[in-house]
């Protein structure tokens, strides 16, 4: 009888736990941790190719999910290159040609500055909850961190990745590992957070590795050198005029 009571208690605890949090609620927590009204950051991108490694530094201003402006600070060949995202439109300014070029269609699939990230990845909505429905599949350890394992399926047909599998830190609500799949089920890209830091009361990725699994090479490493949340960004930053400034 005692065994039966213990079993019933355990079963009901498990059911209570299962009812406690859903995949979509986990996505909401990830989004609320990631997204802020405004942020400014300086980041380093290290592209590890088969023949050489390139390091680029960029400063970015981001407002919500719709607007972002980036300026490359180094190396010399890329210095002064600027990118402006407004909604689903993207422009690039090249100082060597003094041209403002709209990136659209076929070009969005191309690699951003030779990295494992495409322009399409760059353009992506920051909020996972806007793009995907999540299903909680279980729990796994990523290193020493206990994680929820979620399977995401696209809400819309026009997304770059039809489904994703993510491992979310149960305490910090950061997706420590991500696998991104095509509609056919083929793995296209992986994303791993290798270091996190606490800034302004929230946990944020410090170092990440993005890997296009269809390409040879060791992937692209992103390092957040500095980041400020909820800073004031003048409206003119997010205009095409600021590209030539």
């Amino acid at each position: 009888m005692k065994i039966l009571i213990v079993f019933i208690l355990l079963f009901s605890c498990n059911s209570l736990y299962a009812g406690e949090i859903t995949g979509n609620e986990i996505l909401k927590r990830i989004d609320s941790n990631y997204v802020s009204e405004n942020r400014r950051s300086v980041s380093t991108m290290i592209v590890k190719g088969r023949r050489s490694t390139r390091t680029m530094k960029a400063q970015s201003w981001i407002q919500g999910e719709e607007k972002s402006f980036s300026e490359y600070l180094s190396p010399p060949r890329e210095k002064g290159t600027k990118m402006l995202k407004l909604g689903d439109e993207l422009w690039i300014y090249s100082p060597s040609t003094d041209r403002i070029i709209k990136i659209a269609g076929h070009m969005l699939k191309q690699s951003l500055m030779g990295s494992d990230v495409s322009y399409e990845d760059f353009m992506e909505d920051n909020k996972l909850g806007n793009m995907y429905d999540a299903e909680l599949k279980g729990e796994e350890f990523m290193g020493r961190r206990n994680c929820y394992v979620l399977e995401l399926s696209a809400k819309k047909d026009d997304l770059a990745y039809h489904s994703r599998k993510i491992w979310v830190d149960m305490e910090r609500y950061l997706p420590l590992k991500e696998e991104r799949y095509a509609k056919s089920g083929k793995l296209l890209k992986t994303f791993v957070i290798t270091e996190v830091f606490k800034v302004g009361g929230r946990w944020y990725p410090k170092k990440m590795v993005f890997k296009d699994v269809l390409q040879k090479g060791s992937g692209t490493e992103f390092i957040i050198d500095s980041i400020e949340f909820d800073v004031k960004i003048p409206a003119h930053v997010f205009s095409k005029a600021s590209l030539r400034r």
Binding site: R51, T97, M113
Partner: protein
């Protein structure tokens, strides 16, 4: 005896006309298809060699693995040194470096913003060098339909259809957006000097041709090249010679443990061209066999009808004591004569239309709008020495084989019944 047979055939037209017409038609089709296939495959090989594969091509081993993706980050570095070495060691061959590149071609408006944009396939070739062979290899001067050859820095040629699509004219700026050799973003302004039409949908759809030095500046490929192409001096591909050259080069330069060491491939080793070559070689035999088979059946049938019509004649000849074997052999001799006459007529007709199509060609451009293979829009036949004799094989053989089968009936006639049959 031959004169006797010819007289018989000429005087009794019902005996010779149908077999001669059948053989003529079959031989005509054999000669025409043979010449046409020779022309199509020859054009395909020539255009592929000129624009893509060369007679031999040198790349890095890593580039070769992914060559369909044009991975310029894996291109040859120190191309100048390798080129000089090849020009010295294989001085009879023509060697030339090329850079293939892809990306977007962006046309600016007055404010320098995007007015039109489209994916582009580019070719960086030696346009400005002294004694450059590329202008002749790519037939550039004759392909220009508007404007002129690039004379200054950063001037390019653009395919006319592509220019129309982008709404761009001579003298305008076109910005290339692509990737540098090191993976960075390449944005580079070119000026349109001329418009070309190659007569190949795959090239005319979205191609630009620029001087290799300008492309090196654009893609940060100082002394780099995607590939170094080698051509025989007479521009005729020689499989045996090229295979030997490939073997020697790879033995000396290519190392499996170094993915950036150069590797040479012959034309037949690239993109399954070996299969096309084998197909071209066996095309004559295939055409001959197909028509020989078809004509044999038709002529067998015709021989059977002839046997019925000449039933009485054969009976009388047998009754007069002509041996069955001699009669059978004479019938076959008659078929050789009809076969030769039909083959001569068919060959003359086949060569006539082939010569016509060699000059005029057949335009298939409307059927190749989405083609990505380097095939010309206009297909031309090609008359070779073999074209003059190839028709005689099916012509004579089919005639003889058909008669041999039909003539077996002679041996089935029974001498004892001949007079009875002749009474009827």
């Amino acid at each position: 005896m031959i004169r006797f047979l010819i007289k018989g055939l000429l005087r009794d037209k019902s005996r010779s006309l149908f077999p001669v017409l059948t053989v003529s038609a079959g031989v005509f089709l054999t000669v025409f298809f043979y010449c046409f296939m020779q022309g199509v495959i020859g054009d395909f090989v020539r255009s592929t060699a000129q624009f893509n594969a060369g007679h031999v091509k040198i790349m890095t081993r890593a580039y070769n693995e992914l060559s369909d993706q044009i991975p310029n980050d894996l291109a040859i570095l120190g191309a100048g040194e390798l080129l000089a070495e090849m020009r010295e060691s294989e001085d009879k061959m023509i060697w030339t470096p090329r850079i293939r590149f892809g990306g977007l071609l962006d046309i600016p408006d007055e404010q320098g913003e995007t007015r039109a944009q489209s994916p582009v396939m580019g070719l960086g070739v030696d346009l400005m060098g002294k004694d450059t062979p590329e202008i002749e290899i790519l037939n550039l001067e004759k392909s220009i339909v508007r404007g002129s050859m690039p004379k200054g820095k950063n001037e390019i040629l653009i395919s006319e259809d592509f220019a129309k699509k982008l709404g761009v004219s001579i003298g305008e700026t076109a910005t290339l957006i692509g990737s540098t050799m090191y993976g960075g973003m390449a944005v580079y302004n070119f000026k349109i000097a001329g418009m070309v039409r190659f007569g190949m949908v795959a090239l005319d759809r979205s191609t630009v041709i620029a001087d290799i030095q300008d492309v090196r500046s654009a893609l940060d490929m100082s002394d780099g090249a995607s590939e170094i192409l080698g051509f025989t001096p007479n521009m005729m591909y020689d499989e045996e010679e090229m295979t030997e050259l490939v073997k020697d080069f790879n033995g000396e330069f290519s190392r499996k443990e170094d993915e950036f060491s150069p590797v040479m491939l012959s034309l037949s080793e690239q993109g399954g061209f070996g299969e096309y070559f084998n197909m071209a070689k066996s095309m004559g035999s295939i055409v001959v066999l197909v028509f020989m088979f078809a004509m044999s059946i038709v002529l067998w049938n015709s021989g059977l009808l002839n046997s019925l019509r000449r039933y009485g004649e054969i009976g009388v000849r047998l009754a007069m004591g002509e041996p069955k074997g001699a009669l059978y052999r004479r019938t076959i001799a008659e078929s050789v004569v009809t076969g030769i006459i039909g083959s001569v007529i068919g060959t003359i007709l086949g060569l006539a239309i082939s010569y016509y199509l060699e000059h005029v060609g057949m335009d298939f451009s409307s059927m190749m709008k989405t083609s990505s293979v380097l095939l010309p829009d206009v297909y031309r036949a090609r008359v070779t020495t073999t074209s003059y004799i190839i028709g005689f094989i099916p012509g004579v053989l089919a005639s003889v084989i058909g008669t041999m089968f039909a003539g077996i009936g002679i041996y089935k006639r029974k001498t004892a019944q001949l007079f009875k049959e002749l009474e009827v």
